[in-house]
Amino acid sequence: MSQRTEQVRTYRENDSLPVVTKTITQEKINRYADASGDHNPLHLDPAFAAKTQFGGTIAHGMLVVAYVSEMMTEAFGEAWVMGGRLKIRFRGAAHPGDTVTASGRVVRVEGARTTCEVECRNQTGDVLVSGDAEVTIR
């Protein structure tokens, strides 16, 4: 396994974080269901999900949030993995076939603590999740 050798860059207020883009598929949702143990039919059963307000299966919210975490790892490396805070609201659903892009911006740097606004949007720009993430860089 290759390891990160370069220094993680220093972020300042208003800097953008590296975006992470993924395509949601039913197969990916199924894999996340198996890993997480969350087999809610809303995620897995097209017939059940078709009767809900979503009109079909949707990805687990925490699958989408994982893309935010990947973005934070890409930006802050081990500092994010070792400790941080994430506060998220789920605002929309990601369906199979959707392209989800996680993005973020540094809003505050106070000493070692960096706070970022983070969000995920689908291919039409709808916000799926939004919130803030905080990382301490020692």
Partner: protein, 137 residues
């Protein structure tokens, strides 16, 4: 028989659950979320949300999610500098429960500590689900 979260009141405390983040499960999780960044970090690093997912998985062995449950909010604080090989202890309680227009809004506090007592994660998941168990068209 596993009880449904829908049947549990505010203040319910789940039985303490012990689990391990095995390398195999972490690999399954990282593959499922396609985390391409974690591989560039030192060995034994894992996505922090893997801890949340694994502890939630342990919780689901005690109480099932009602059909049609929707995750509406999540707060997580994590500090993963502890012994990652140790057995982990998860504690959870229903911190809030309200009902409005046929839906239940429930907050579940979840804390995970190492076997030695070091807190590794705390947070709250907020979910909503239909009061009657029916789906809403």
């Amino acid at each position: 028989m596993i009880v449904s979260l829908a049947d549990l009141p505010k203040g319910h405390e789940f039985a303490e659950t012990r689990f391990k983040l095995t390398p195999e499960w972490v690999a399954e999780y990282a593959g499922a979320v396609e985390d391409e960044a974690i591989g560039s970090l030192p060995d034994r690093s894992y996505p922090p949300l893997a801890l949340a997912a694994c502890s939630f998985r342990a919780l689901l062995k005690q109480a099932s999610l009602p059909e049609g449950a929707i995750h509406v909010g999540q707060e997580i604080n994590f500090s993963l500098s502890g012994d990652r090989e140790s057995e982990l202890v998860a504690r959870a309680r229903i911190a809030s429960r309200g009902e409005r227009q046929g839906w239940v809004l429930m907050g579940i506090d979840l804390n995970v500590a190492s076997d030695s007592g070091k807190e590794m994660m705390s947070g709250r998941a907020t979910i909503t689900f239909p009061l009657s168990g029916e789906t809403v068209a």
